[in-house]
Amino acid sequence: MRGQGPESDIVMSSRIRLARNLSEFPFIRKCTPKDRIAIAMSVHRALDSLPLSADTEYVDVAKLGDLDRQFLMERQLISHELSESQGARAVILDPHERFSIMVNEEDHLRLQVMQSGLDLEAAWQRMDQLDNQLESKLTYSFNKRLGYLTACPTNVGTGLRVSVMLHLPALVATKQIDKVFRALNKINVAVRGLFGEGSQFMGDFYQISNQTTLGKNELALVAKVREVVPRLIDYERKAREFLVNESRQDLHDNVSRALGILCTAKKISSEETMHYLSKVRMGVNLGLISDVKIPTVNKLFIHTQPAHLQKLCGHKLSVTDRNIERANYLQLHLAKRPESEIN
């Protein structure tokens, strides 16, 4: 989310994950509390014997408080499932947040590699190496015919999920997004909204990913997702052009008002913040807003989420206090004060 990398005005980040299970244990739903502990210990031991351990941190998620778990979730380092489930579970963190390994999630291991912008091939290379390292110390559940065996049959085979997070505000504004979804679904590419709670898609962020994991190799699956991204970028650019051509003044007014609200509100919810930040982000990318930088906007999307806000504040806050604090924080970083850029 550093706002770097190819096509970073539309592509927020690329992510690859692998699902793996240890052969000597049942899948998670049939694991006893002892099994879960034994799995976590096996992984911890394997990690300790690898050079990888020098630069990573093994975090016992079961021992973390609510706020810490939510914080990791907001940074997409752990999933909702890992955060909220019971029993022994862990996450192995890279201090640079280029990858994380969840232990005892839906599968025994969920490896994920993150990359700013669109660089799936590089992400896969790093993932392959990470997987090879762990595999040298652990015995994965594998069958020649069905590949890597997973708790849910939707992940069997490669266990690979390739996803790209895109910012598509103009396709949303021109009401073309549903058409795009339907087209993608037909070619087995899944789309879902991000940052939303429940069914609400927020901030105009969408994640596209492969739906199938069996029958095609990893590079083919990477290529499948990679191939649709330029088309989506093209559609979004055309929709932005359309909005500018239709009425540059209206669009300029719209994004400026969004910035105005974020700079002056005294209480603001995270939903409203996402909504307006999305408009501001498009405004900056179209050159309609000049005094705000994309990396600042990207960071505000994360830092204004509840756990981040409370961490920045140093203590727990009620919903009302969070809304006040969020408004203060936005004002500090968006009002015309170049020295307040987030580092």
Binding site: L22, S23, R29, S79, N143, P153, G198, T212, G215
Partner: protein
């Protein structure tokens, strides 16, 4: 895997067979699956998996097949196929073999394939067939001990450690003959 519309786990894997362009698969949490199904004007089933299977079985005009499939039990983890349909998660790797016939149509619907292509681990001792083989040998050893046939028990103990260490010379051939026949059989790849 997560729901396509939210962060909750996708426990419903709906295959829409009425699409003009062939089947499309949706992965949804219970709440979104319900919304989807009610929008479709369909009654809400206990599980979308069962709905999909029911559709397939209806075509074959053999609803009793579902009841038969539901009763199948994995010899290793003990879950029934009905348990899987209810939770949307398997209990252990051997379920892929124990429920092979019933999972195949589902896998074809989701992936359009039944054959893994791609990366393989360098250490291939983690096959579910091997786990099953170890379990069988342990049962045999226990029986031998109960019969006070310590010679057989000791032979079986050695065999178990051979299989566990991946050094057994003949087990894989035997095991494939014993267990893997169905799994190795030719299944049309759609």
């Amino acid at each position: 895997m997560k729901c396509q519309h939210c962060e909750k786990p996708a426990t419903f894997h709906i295959t829409e067979l009425t699409e003009p362009n062939g089947p499309s698969v949706l992965h949804l949490c219970e709440e979104h699956a319900r919304t989807f199904l009610s929008n479709e004007g369909t009654a809400t089933p206990a599980s979308a998996l069962s709905s999909m299977l029911a559709k397939q079985l209806k075509i074959k005009n053999a609803a009793e097949e579902l009841a038969t499939a539901d009763k199948k039990t994995c010899p290793i983890c003990g879950i029934t196929f009905a348990d899987f349909r209810k939770f949307g998660r398997l209990g252990c790797a051997y379920d892929y073999i124990a429920f092979e016939d019933d999972l195949q149509p589902l896998l074809v619907n989701i992936h359009g394939s039944l054959q893994h292509v791609g990366k393989e681990p360098s250490n291939q001792t983690g096959s579910p067939e091997r786990q099953h083989r170890i379990m069988q040998l342990k049962v045999e050893m226990k029986e031998a001990v109960e019969k006070e046939d310590y010679e057989t028990a000791s032979r079986l103990r050695d065999k178990i450690s051979e299989v566990e260490s991946g050094n057994e010379s003949s087990w894989s051939k035997d095991a494939l003959e014993d267990l893997g026949d169905d799994f190795q059989s030719d299944t049309p790849i759609v």
